[in-house]
């Protein structure tokens, strides 16, 4: 883990790596530093940084001894009469996931159950994730990752992910019926849903009293310099589109120009475009933050008063899925990982911790009330129907967005 910041990494990614080396998460880092004070914390850091790397070693991309079911079976005595043998899982697994996006001890439980070592790497934003797994066109050495469902058709076309063996994922029966045959991946051939979210904004009622309901709040000059927007091109354009009553998936140039004008009008009051909005809210850097539903739940762990709303003009919903990458060196362990996470209790543990609603029917009775009963986290069907999924944009359309997004950022 001696990669440097200018080696094609974003600084967020580099920071994440650096903190990972020290065995910390970013929020822990911020919290500790705030608590102990700058100097004490820095000396701590110096010590922490010199310590040898934590168990989150980078996955080795070198070919290992032929693992996998075939090899495992070949080495056992040829018992041709035996029924279909259970494939032998590999001893390791390389997982690549968002920060704060898994139950507190899911990894330990998995290792305890299967004896498989989990090498767990985190990415701070989607761009990092996509560039890492595309690095070699086969997953960048990872076995399992958690992309947004909108990527699935592209990933299949690219050959980046592999077909799933449903016989190794019996717990897939736990999914709610509406999640069993998603439009982005009919028959769940390549992916299994993990969790889903809504987009809205969170605010601190101590600083901003009253009920906020509309996207207009994010354009209210009263919150000048107290507002953060998601550092997410599509989400920002979607917020502008809802304000103008346009389709958030529009690729019409005139409409995109209208949305850009809307975002340019908003920019003077924006303090920062960030995906580090949880820390920004908790540290009082901003009082109102464009964010995803689970982020809000995570904010309330520290500041229970913080409120969240899905704006009435409409908003975005989306979901993340498990995929097994085509270059996976531990495919059996990868399937076991997915199956394990679909277990009712494990799935409930994940959902209860991360605050993002899961698609698991068997887990519903085990979910915390404040998650499963909250219409902002688990919207009722009629509300869900009004929320829109962001679609994948082909390069030409992506360029239309990108040129406007860079203009917005530059000015």
């Amino acid at each position: 883990m001696t990669r440097e910041i200018d080696g094609g990494m974003t600084f967020n990614e580099a920071l994440e790596l650096r903190l990972q080396e020290a065995g910390w998460t970013r929020r822990e880092f911020l919290r500790r530093v705030a608590a102990v004070g700058a100097f004490a914390a820095l000396s701590q850091l110096l010590i922490a940084c010199r310590q040898p790397g934590s168990p989150t070693a980078a996955p080795s991309t070198a070919a290992e001894t032929p693992a996998g079911s075939q090899a495992g079976q070949a080495s056992t005595p040829p018992a041709s009469t035996a029924p279909t043998p259970v494939p032998q899982p590999e001893s390791e697994l390389n997982v690549y996931n968002w920060s704060y996006y898994i139950g507190r001890d899911t990894r330990e439980q998995f290792t305890a159950k299967y004896g498989i070592k989990v090498n767990y790497d985190k990415f701070p934003d989607e761009n990092t994730q996509i560039s890492q797994i595309r690095r070699d066109g086969r997953g960048g050495g990872y076995d399992v990752t958690y992309p947004a469902s909108t990527w699935i058709p592209t990933f299949i076309q690219e050959g980046l992910i592999q077909k799933l063996d449903h016989s190794l994922i019996p717990n897939i029966k736990n999914l709610l019926p509406e999640w069993r045959d998603p439009a982005y991946d009919p028959g769940s051939e390549y992916s299994v849903p993990y969790s889903w979210w809504t987009t809205g904004y969170a605010w601190d009622p101590d600083k901003i009293p009253g009920d906020l309901t509309s996207w207009d709040a994010l354009w209210d000059a009263a919150y000048t310099n107290r507002l953060s927007m998601l550092d997410d091109m599509r989400e920002c354009f979607a917020s502008g589109a809802f304000r103008l009553d346009l389709d958030p998936n529009t690729t019409d140039v005139a409409q995109l120009d209208q949305i850009l004008a809307e975002l340019e009008a908003q920019k003077p009051i924006v303090k920062r475009y960030t995906t580090d909005h949880i820390a920004a809210m908790l540290n009082g850097i901003v009082d109102i933050a464009h964010c995803w539903s689970g982020d809000w739940i995570q904010m309330t762990y520290d500041k229970p008063k913080i409120r969240y709303v899905i704006p009435t003009e409409g908003s975005i919903k989306g979901n993340d899925v498990f995929v097994v990458l085509s270059g996976a060196q531990h495919p059996i362990a990868a399937h076991l990982w997915i199956d394990f996470n679909l277990d009712a209790q494990i799935s409930a543990d994940n959902t209860n911790y991360i605050g993002y609603m899961g698609p698991n029917e068997a887990a519903l009775p085990l979910l915390k009330k404040y998650i499963v009963d909250d219409p902002r986290i688990n919207p009722p069907a009629e509300m869900l129907a009004t929320l829109i999924e962001l679609k994948y944009l082909p390069p030409d359309d992506n360029a239309k967005y990108l040129d406007r997004w860079t203009s917005l950022q530059a000015t």
């Binding site: 580099a14 850091l45 924006v270 360029a399």
Partner: protein
Amino acid sequence: VTSSTAEAAADAGIATTSGRPRRPGHGLATALLVLPGVLWLIALFLAPLAIIGVFSLGSVDPNGSISFANPGFGNYERALNPSFLTAFGRSIYYSFATTVLSLVIGYPVAYWISRYGGQRKILLLVLVMLPFWTSYLIRTYAWLIILRDDGVVNGLLMQTGLIESPLEFIGADVSVILGMTYGFLPFTILPLFVSIDRLDFNLVHAARDLYASGRGAFLNVTLPLTMPGIVAASLLTFIPALGDFVTPDMLGGAHTITIAKIVQIVFTTGHDWPYGAALGFVLMAITIAGTLIALRSLRREVIGTAA
């Protein structure tokens, strides 16, 4: 005077026209000695540059890889987006302010180490470089902690009653310039030190003997003779500062976005490497042109008159 100036300039990385004496008859040995450097440059500078150049003519295909089905200069047209002038102007402003501040802070430090460092010179120079032992990211995070609303600076100011409510440093130009100056200061001090250390102080004494005031001797002798160091230090600070996006990103906010950050957005958010490559090329061309023009006029003024 001439030789020491030229040497200092050469040491500081500035080419001078006089150069070193040629030694005919050592062609092969010279070629062999130069070879590794040339290979290094080809493999790690020219080849990547050529790859970026080729990339910049392509486009992204639906699989996210680079396609050359319709090569052309479309990406360069996109790179000439007039909105980018604002971000570019901001980059120049931050870099210029950083360079000036670094020179103002760094010159006395370098001067002091050179003249009064005595036997501890090496130790003092190591101290200048000491921050490099910690990741720049971590150090910038420390500035975030110092400068933020409930940070050390605001805490002190409020405790002493100088201000009522915290000053918003984070997100403002001042904290970006402060962070960048902090980060680039060692790059300024080292060339300045080399230049000042090479200065023959007998010349300063001679000036004083001839009734120059301390100020006069400094302005007419010390400063002109260390000008090559100042030029080198400025370049070594200004050019990397121009490419900095980490500091403006961390200590700044929505209104401190530099052109380097735009390049980063194109590569990461945009997944558009050909466009990013074109943008990078345009920036590089501007930087090189600017540096050459600056160097040319400076050389005439500084090194030219000395020689």
